[in-house]
C-alpha cells in the first residue's frame, strides 16, 4: 500500500535532487514578499539536499524591502493559537525567512503557559503537507474560487427562496468571531442550524451539568488547586479536554523542586492503562463494571461521611461486583476525599451522563465547586453535541436537509454509523466541504472549498470564558486556499475579509467599549492572549433531582457490563481522533505506554492473552456482533482482563500517502445511547486468526531487571531526607585532568517527578533538528532516529502496575566514551562541555554508538526521503540535513546556543540564565527539563544540580554526564 511505500523505498529518492526547479514550485502563489523568501529558503533547502557542491546557486532577493523588523536569516516569533485540537493552546510560531518552521509554547498564555503537546509540534509538518488540496474542487474537478462561489451562492439563494434546512456541521469551534460568522451565515435561512460534532465527545459532562447545575457547560478543572485527584478513567494528562493545561496544573501541584515538600495525591480507577493512570500515586485496576460500582460506592460513602443527604438509590447502594479489597480501596479513597474537602477533585472520563451526574454529586458533596471545579468560567473546548448530530443524521436521511456545510469534521470516517451518515449525506442536494483535504467525507461532497491552515489564517479563540487568544497568519497561503470563515462570509454576501471582521468583533464584543482599541489589539496580538477579569460569582446551585435515576441506570449498566468482555475505545495521545493521521511525525511517535508506532492494536491483559494463547502481534478478530475488525494484539500489563482496548483514529482511507491504511478503524464500535456516544462496547468477543505481525516498536524490553536506572521514593522517604541517599555525582579519582571550562559549561536537569510521558519533547526536537522520519519498516528494524527518547519501564505485578518515564538524550559526558574512539575526530568535546557531533567529518564507523552507554546516537542508515519539495519547507535552515552514513545525535540544540551567544556578544553583554532554551525544554508542559550554564553559580540548572533528589545515570562508569535526573517521588501515604 502506498502509505508504506513512500517510506519504505529509499532507492527512489536519489533521483536528481540537486536540480530542484525553483520556477515551477506548484503552485505559484501570488508573488507576495513571503513567496520570495520561501524561494530563497527553498534554494537553501535544495542545496542542503544536493550537498556541498551544487553547480550554480541562485540568490533571489526581494523586489521591495519588507517591513523593518524582518532580516533574512533571523528567526521571528509570532504569538498565535494552536489549531491542532479544540484545546486552543497558546503558541509561538517561529518564522525563518518567511517560512513557519516550528511551534513553541507561549509562556504568556494564561492557561497553557509555555507548554505544548506533541500534536501541536506536528502541525508545522501538516502545513507543508503536499496532500492538501491546492484549489477548490467541484466534485473531483479542480475549479476556481469565483466559479464555486457563484454556483454555491446560486444554489443557496434557491434555498433562501424555497426555504429548507441548512446545516453547518463543524468540530468544536472555540473562536467567538467564527461562531458569530456562522450565526450570521445561518440567519439568511429560514431553518439554519449550527451543529458541533466531536468524534471523541465529552457531551455527557455538559448534559450532566445541565441536569445538576442547570448549565450545559464543561466547567474548568483546576488540577493545580487540587490536593487530591480521583479520576475514574479520565486520561486528563493524555487526551481529555485540555491535556496541556491540565498537565501544567498537575505538575505544578506536584512540583518538589526548590525545597517544596508537598505534592498533590492522585488516585486513578481505570480498566486500561492510560497516561494519567501511569502517573498515578495509586492506580486501581478495575473492570468497567467495577469502575461504575466504585463510583457509586464512593458517592454513597462520601455522602455519608460529609453528611450530605443523598437520594435513596445512592444511600442504599450495595455493590454486587466489588470484591472486599476494592470496597476497602474505595472506602479509603472516600476517607481521603472527605479529609480534603474543598481541595479535592473527582473526574470521570466516561461519556455517560449518569456517571457524570454522580461525579457532580460527589464534587458537590465535597464542596469542590468553586474551589477546583469552576462553572463560572466554563470551557469552550469539546462542545460536541451528540444528540444534535444524531438528529442531523436523521434529518439527512429523511431528505429534509437542503444544504450541508462541513468544516473540520469527517463523519464519513469517524461517525459510528458512517453508512447511515453517508447515505443521508448523499440525499443532501448541496454538500459543501470546507476541509483542507479530500478526505472520506469531502470525497462525496459537491464542492470542496479547502480552508487555509491555521498557520496561514487569522482567527481567535476563547478556550475558557474570559480567556481570549488570537492567531495570526505566519505565511501567505501556500495553495489556492481560503479561510473557511471567509468562505461563509462570501456566501452570506459579506465581502469583508475575515481579518476586518475579527477586529470589528473584538472591538464590539470583547474589548471594553472605552478602551483604546489599536493599542489593546496590538498588545493582545503581541502577547497572543487577552483576559477579561471576572468578579467572583457564586457557583450555580446543585439540584440532586436526577442523581437517583442516574444511579439506578448506572446500577443496571454495571450489571450488563459485569463479567463480559468489553471493547474500550480510546484516543492515542499522538493520533487523537485521527484528523491528523496523514502526519508522519505523529505516526512515528511511539505511544508512551506501548512504545508502538505506525499502528493501532487490540490491547489485551496478559491473563487474557494467556487464555487465548496470544503472542505480541498475533492478529485477532474483535467483534461485538454488529462490528468486527481484525487487529494485531498487544499484551498490556496493568490492563483489566475484561477489557480489550483499541485506539480510534486509524484505518483512514483518504488521509494521504502517509496516513492511508494504517491500522483499522475502531469507530464502528461506538454506540449512541442515553443521549451520548458510548465508547465502551460490551459483549465483545475475540478470537485468534492465526496470522501474526511484528510491531514497529521502539522499546522491546519493558522492565528494569533490578538495575538502578530509575530512582524512586515515597513522599515520606523524600521528606525524611532519604532521597539524598545513594551516590551524589561522585568526584572520582581520575588519572586524567578534568576539562577546564572557561565561559560556559552547559548542563541539564530532568525532573522525573514532573515528566508525565506526554512525548511533546520528542516532536519538538524532531521539528527543531530536522530529524528524519524513517517509516514503519525501519522502526521495525530498530532504526528510529529520534534524538530524545522516552524510556518507559513497568514495575510491580499486573495488579499494581507502576510506570516510570525517563527522557534520555545525549548526556554530553565530560569523559565521553564516544569521543575517544572516533578515528577522525568527528565527535569531540567543546570548550563549553558539549559533546559535538560534526556531521561533515563523520565517516560512519559507528564505533561511537557502540561505545555509548546511553545508546543515544542515531545513524543514517540510508538517505532518508527529502524529495517532497513542499515538506522540505519545514526544514530548519540552522541545522544541517544529515546525509547517508553519518552519525547524529542531540547536542543541546547547539544552534540555539550559538544564536544566543552571538546575540549576547553583539550586544556586548553576558548571556542571561534561561535565555537559551533547548527545544525539548521549551515546550514541556510539565517544565520537567531545565537547561543552563553550570559555570554560572546562580543558574537555575546549577541550583537544581544540588537538589537532594539529583542523581546521574550509570554513575559507576564515571562518564560525568552533563544531564542529571531528579528522582521520582510517589505520594503513597493516604492523606
Amino acid at each position: 500500500m502506498n502509505g508504506e511505500k513512500l517510506w519504505k523505498i529509499f532507492q527512489q529518492q536519489d533521483a536528481d535532487r540537486d536540480s530542484v526547479d525553483l520556477v515551477n514550485i506548484e503552485p505559484r502563489a501570488a508573488m507576495s514578499r513571503r513567496t520570495f523568501i520561501e524561494l530563497i529558503g527553498f534554494s537553501a533547502a535544495a542545496a542542503a539536499l544536493a550537498g556541498c557542491r551544487a553547480p550554480e546557486q541562485k540568490i533571489i532577493p526581494f523586489i521591495t524591502q519588507p517591513m523593518a523588523e524582518f532580516t533574512p536569516g533571523v528567526g521571528l516569533f509570532y504569538a498565535s493559537t494552536c489549531g491542532g485540537c479544540s484545546a486552543s493552546c497558546g503558541a509561538l510560531v517561529k518564522v525563518r525567512d518567511g517560512r513557519p518552521i516550528k511551534l513553541e509554547g507561549n509562556d504568556l498564555h494564561p492557561l497553557t503557559g509555555g507548554g505544548l503537546c506533541a500534536v501541536a509540534h506536528a502541525m508545522v509538518f501538516e502545513l507543508y503537507d503536499s496532500d492538501r488540496l491546492r484549489q477548490p474542487m467541484r466534485g473531483s474537478q479542480a475549479a476556481t474560487w469565483d466559479e464555486v462561489d457563484a454556483e454555491i451562492k446560486k444554489q443557496l439563494d434557491g434555498i433562501k427562496q424555497n426555504g429548507g434546512k441548512v446545516r453547518v456541521l463543524t468540530s468544536t469551534i472555540t473562536s467567538p468571531t467564527t461562531l458569530a460568522v456562522i450565526e450570521k451565515f445561518l440567519t439568511q435561512f429560514t431553518d439554519g442550524k449550527h451543529i458541533t460534532y466531536d468524534a471523541v465527545s465529552t457531551a455527557a459532562i455538559r448534559k450532566a451539568h445541565l441536569k445538576t447545575h442547570g448549565r450545559e457547560a464543561i466547567p474548568s478543572y483546576k488540577f493545580d488547586a487540587a490536593k487530591l485527584i480521583v479520576s475514574f478513567g479520565a486520561d486528563f494528562l493524555g487526551t481529555w479536554i485540555a491535556p496541556v493545561e491540565f498537565t501544567r496544573g498537575y505538575s505544578q501541584a506536584r512540583n518538589l523542586r526548590d525545597g517544596r515538600h508537598e505534592m498533590s495525591r492522585h488516585i486513578q480507577f481505570e480498566s486500561r492503562l492510560t497516561l494519567a493512570g501511569s502517573n498515578a500515586d495509586r492506580r486501581v485496576k478495575v473492570s468497567p463494571a467495577e469502575e461504575i460500582e466504585s463510583l457509586l460506592l464512593l458517592a454513597k460513602l462520601v455522602a455519608a461521611k460529609t453528611g450530605q443527604q443523598a437520594p435513596a438509590e445512592i444511600a442504599s447502594f450495595n455493590p454486587t461486583n466489588l470484591n472486599p479489597r476494592l470496597q476497602q480501596v474505595v472506602e479509603q479513597t472516600a476517607n481521603e476525599l472527605v479529609k480534603l474537602k474543598g481541595a479535592s477533585l473527582v473526574v470521570s472520563g466516561a461519556n455517560d451522563t449518569d456517571a457524570q451526574v454522580v461525579v457532580n454529586f460527589i464534587n458537590n458533596a465535597l464542596g469542590n465547586y468553586g474551589a477546583t471545579v469552576d462553572l463560572n468560567a466554563p470551557s469552550a473546548q469539546k462542545q460536541g453535541d451528540d444528540e444534535a448530530m444524531a438528529e442531523l443524521v436523521r434529518e439527512m436521511n429523511a431528505g429534509e436537509v437542503k444544504a450541508l456545510i462541513i468544516s473540520g469534521v469527517n463523519p464519513a470516517y469517524d461517525h459510528f454509523a458512517r453508512n447511515e451518515f453517508t447515505s443521508g449525506f448523499a440525499k443532501v442536494p448541496l454538500k459543501i466541504s470546507l476541509n483542507p483535504t479530500r478526505d472520506e467525507t469531502s470525497a462525496n461532497a459537491d464542492f470542496i472549498c479547502p480552508q487555509s491552515h491555521f498557520l496561514e489564517s487569522w482567527n481567535d479563540a476563547e478556550p475558557r470564558r474570559g480567556t481570549f487568544s488570537l492567531s495570526q497568519p505566519t505565511i501567505a497561503p501556500l495553495f489556492q486556499t481560503r479561510a473557511y470563515q471567509e468562505s461563509l462570509l462570501r456566501w452570506s454576501g459579506d465581502e469583508r475579509n475575515f481579518y476586518n471582521v475579527l477586529r470589528e468583533h473584538w472591538k464590539e464584543n470583547i474589548f471594553a467599549k472605552d478602551a483604546n482599541f489599536d493599542e489593546l489589539w496590538d498588545k493582545s496580538l503581541e502577547s497572543g492572549a487577552y483576559t477579561i477579569e471576572r468578579t467572583a460569582a457564586a457557583q450555580p446551585a446543585f439540584a440532586s433531582s436526577d442523581v437517583g435515576n442516574a444511579a439506578t441506570r448506572l446500577k443496571t449498566r454495571a450489571m450488563t457490563l459485569a463479567g463480559k468482555l468489553t471493547v474500550a475505545l480510546y484516543e492515542k495521545i499522538l493520533m487523537r481522533d485521527g484528523a491528523h493521521a496523514n502526519n508522519p511525525w505523529l505516526q512515528e511517535l511511539p505511544d508512551p505506554i506501548t512504545k508502538i508506532t505506525w499502528d493501532n492494536y487490540a490491547s489485551v491483559s496478559p491473563a487474557l492473552a494467556e487464555k487465548l494463547q496470544l503472542e505480541e502481534g498475533s492478529v485477532v478478530r474483535v467483534s461485538n456482533g454488529a462490528t468486527t475488525i481484525e487487529l494485531p494484539a498487544h499484551i498490556q500489563t496493568g490492563q483489566h482482563d475484561d477489557v480489550i482496548a483499541i485506539a480510534v483514529g486509524y484505518g483512514r482511507t483518504h488521509a494521504g500517502k502517509a496516513g492511508n491504511n494504517i491500522g483499522a478503524n475502531a469507530y464502528p464500535f461506538v454506540s449512541f445511547d442515553n443521549g451520548t456516544f458510548q465508547y465502551l462496547a460490551n459483549g465483545a468477543s475475540i478470537e485468534k486468526t492465526g496470522a501474526k505481525i511484528e510491531f514497529a516498536s521502539t522499546q522491546r524490553h519493558h522492565t528494569l531487571d533490578g538495575r538502578p536506572i530509575i530512582k524512586e521514593f515515597t513522599l515520606a522517604e523524600f521528606i525524611s531526607g532519604h532521597a539524598g541517599e545513594g551516590e551524589r555525582e561522585r568526584q572520582s579519582q581520575s588519572i586524567w585532568k578534568d576539562h577546564a571550562y572557561g565561559e560556559h559549561k552547559w548542563g541539564m536537569v530532568v525532573d522525573l517527578n514532573a515528566c508525565t510521558g506526554c512525548s511533546a519533547c520528542i516532536l519538538s526536537c524532531q521539528a527543531e533538528n530536522n530529524v528524519p522520519v524513517v517509516g514503519r519498516e525501519e522502526v521495525r528494524r530498530q532504526r528510529e532516529m529520534h534524538w530524545i527518547r522516552l524510556d518507559r519501564y513497568f514495575e510491580g505485578d499486573g495488579e499494581t502496575t507502576k510506570v516510570v518515564y525517563q527522557p534520555v538524550m545525549c548526556a554530553q559526558c565530560d569523559n565521553a566514551s564516544c569521543e575517544s574512539v572516533c578515528p577522525v575526530l568527528a565527535t569531540v568535546h567543546s570548550s563549553e562541555g558539549l559533546n559535538m557531533q560534526v556531521y561533515n567529518r563523520c565517516v560512519g564507523t559507528r564505533y561511537c554508538a557502540n561505545n555509548c552507554a546511553y545508546k543515544v546516537r542515531r545513524f543514517n542508515w540510508f538517505d532518508y526521503p527529502h524529495d517532497d519539495e513542499i515538506a522540505n519547507l519545514a526544514l530548519n535552515p540552522d541545522v544541517t540535513v544529515r546525509t547517508r552514513g553519518v552519525m547524529e545525535k542531540c547536542t543541546f540544540c547547539v544552534q540555539r546556543i550559538e544564536e544566543k551567544k552571538i546575540l549576547a556578544r553583539n550586544e556586548g553583554r553576558a548571556i542571561r540564565d534561561g535565555e537559551i532554551q533547548t527545544a525539548c525544554q521549551q515546550s514541556c508542559p510539565a517544565q520537567a527539563i531545565t537547561f543552563g550554564d553550570l559555570v554560572d553559580q546562580e543558574s537555575r540548572a546549577n541550583h537544581l544540580k544540588h537538589d537532594e533528589r539529583d542523581y546521574i545515570l550509570l554513575p559507576e562508569l564515571n562518564l560525568r554526564p552533563a544531564i542529571s535526573y531528579l528522582a521520582k517521588v510517589r505520594n503513597t501515604e493516604e492523606a
Partner: protein, 195 residues
Amino acid sequence: MSLRTARIVSLVVTVVGAIVLLQNATFSWLGNQQGYEPVQPIAFSHKIHAGDNQISCLYCHSAAEKSRVAGIPAASVCMNCHSQIRKDSPEVQKIAAALSDNKPIQWVRVHDLPDHVAFNHSRHVSAGIKCQQCHGPVETMERVAQFDSLFMGTCVSCHRTHREVTLDKTGKPVIAKEATPKRLMASTDCSVCHH
C-alpha cells in the same frame, strides 16, 4: 646503470617526491573555488558603487550586522538612488523592469560555503573585522570574484590568532572579559560553525 647511480636516483626521487606531495596545496586543489567569477544577470559594478562612490557595504548589505547572512538588497533599495540617477542606463532599466513586472532578479551566488558551514556575518562585522578580510578588495572589482579559498583552514587560522571581541556601548570593539587567557581567543570549537 650501476647500483650506485640507482641508489642516488631513488634517493632523490623519494626526497623530492615527499616534499612535493606533503604540501597542503597538494590536497587543496580539489574543490577550490578561489577566483570564481560568474556572469551576473545585471552588470553591477562594485567598483563604481563601493569604490568610486564610497557607498558603505552595509548600506546595501544591511543584514550583515544583524544576521548570519549579509543579504542582497531588494530591487527597491537600488531604486532609492536610481530613480534619480542614470535612469536611462540599460542595466538600471533591468532593475526597474524587475520592479514593474514583479519578477525578482536571480543573482548568481559567488561565495557559496557548503551547507554544513554556519558562518555568521553579524558576529564578525560587530567584532570589527573588515569585509575585505575575506571578500578581498571588492571595491576594486567590476564583477565580484571569490578572493579567498574560504577553506576551513582560513577560518581556523584566524580564530586561532584573533581575540574574541564585543562592542562596548559606543559601538567600539573591545576585547571580551572572559575567564581564562585561553578563552580570549575566538572559539575553535567545531560546533561554532558546524551544527
